[in-house]
Subunit: 226 residues, 2 copies
DNA sequence: GAGGTTTGTATCACCCGTTCACAAACGCCT
DNA sequence: AGGCGTTTGTGAACGGGTGATACAAACCTC
């Protein structure tokens, strides 16, 4: 469902509104802050229930809690990060884990130089452990994050799957083949840049294309997904 | 066009095939290595010409060059990276820039502690410069990358746009509003994780869902965008 | 209670992307 | 030279998502 891919965006916007002390918001305004149309927003929300009050709008706190509950944010999911290079470090120290309903269950790296080091994850701090500990850590993790070089990505993926992980987020520039029942979401910075580059070169050749194709004139937000 | 979003994936797979010394490949095999179906691959390629020979397949070298030319990889585009935290560092040292047709034109940060530091980008090395130098650097850059905290994202985005940058890749967990004619691709790790988390919880509740919905049983690859 | 506002929903057409099926073209083998 | 198996390239059907529209129901204010 395409709606599921947008709900986290709404949730994030609501979170900021909540912090800003705004108690009520209309579908039109929330939609604008999320990069969608108001009709789409209301249709998305209608799929999971009825949360607003007509004539007023949505209670920010209530809607936030409702979406969070529906997404299941209430009890955190364990995340194991494999590969503690620059990217892995950035992910480990990412503050969005706690607020988004996640908990870093473990850090893994192959490099003996890196294993044993302590990395601060949010409020706590974790020690990087060797690859052999993956199966053990995976007991407490439901999601695996691959931040290794591309050459190690498939192997890492196989190990994660063998450890029972069924949901993987990969940053490696490779297509990962997994058995049925396992879901992989891939974020490839190189691919994203090349898409942008193509658009850039296209608009450089025909700058008037934005007017000839009005549907692309509006800001486009690419999700990683799709 | 959705085809454009997949061409870089094909290009990458072809690049690895080329390095592996494989001279010819069929659409079926290349499709499998790219995570798509053969029909989709062939249709994608048909949009930009006819490259294969029937009964044989595609010449890896020729197809690689053709797609690269079509995407315009031949002359590198300048990329300016704003925000040199862990993520910014990871991006700056990313080796995919050179091979993907990019060139790091500059590094920007607000923190005086970070400004002036030298960061190795591929074969060369660059000095981090203050935000005020953005306009100057943007002369040589066509793409801007936002790797700042979310709180600084919109401001950074505005500065990039003011400097003439029209294509932006953002990693900040925020929806960025830009004027018409400017394209933003947003990669939000938190959103990706929440989508995965939802799927995880769903499959945990009804593990048989993979059989009841066979179209999701196969590995799914999410692009950041869509 | 009247009026204005906003949600929630139903319906419809449309467009894009995917999938299917098949003819055309090629190499190979005899 | 000609048939045969293989693979490309593509026209056509299919389906999901989107956007537009419309409108009734519900709420607040006055």
């Amino acid at each position: 469902m395409a709606t599921v891919e947008r709900l986290p965006v709404y949730l994030h916007a609501l979170d900021r509104l909540r912090r800003a002390g705004i108690a009520t918001i209309s579908s039109a305004e929330l939609a604008e802050r999320s990069g969608v149309t108001s009709a789409k927003l209301r249709k998305d929300l209608s799929h999971l229930g009825s949360f607003g009050t007509r004539g007023v709008g949505y209670d920010v706190e209530f809607l936030h809690r409702s979406i969070a509950d529906w997404l299941g944010v209430h009890e955190p999911l364990g995340v194991v990060i494999v590969g503690l290079g620059n990217l892995g470090h950035a992910l480990a120290t990412y503050r969005g884990f706690a607020t988004g309903g996640f908990r870093v269950a473990g850090l893994i790296d192959v490099d003996p130089q890196v294993v044993g080091r302590s990395v601060s994850c949010g409020d706590t701090s974790l020690v990087v452990r060797p690859v052999d500990d993956l199966a053990e850590i995976a007991e407490y993790a439901q999601i695996g994050v691959i931040a290794t070089p591309g050459s190690a990505a498939q192997d890492t993926c196989d190990r994660l799957v063998a450890s029972g992980i069924k949901h993987i987020l990969s940053f490696a520039p490779r297509f990962l083949s997994v058995p049925p029942g396992v879901e992989v979401r891939a974020i490839d910075v190189g691919v994203e840049l090349q898409i942008l580059a193509f658009r850039q070169r296209q608009s450089a050749v025909s700058p008037a294309s934005t007017t000839s194709r009005p549907r692309h004139a509006a800001p486009v937000t690419g999700a990683v997904s799709a």
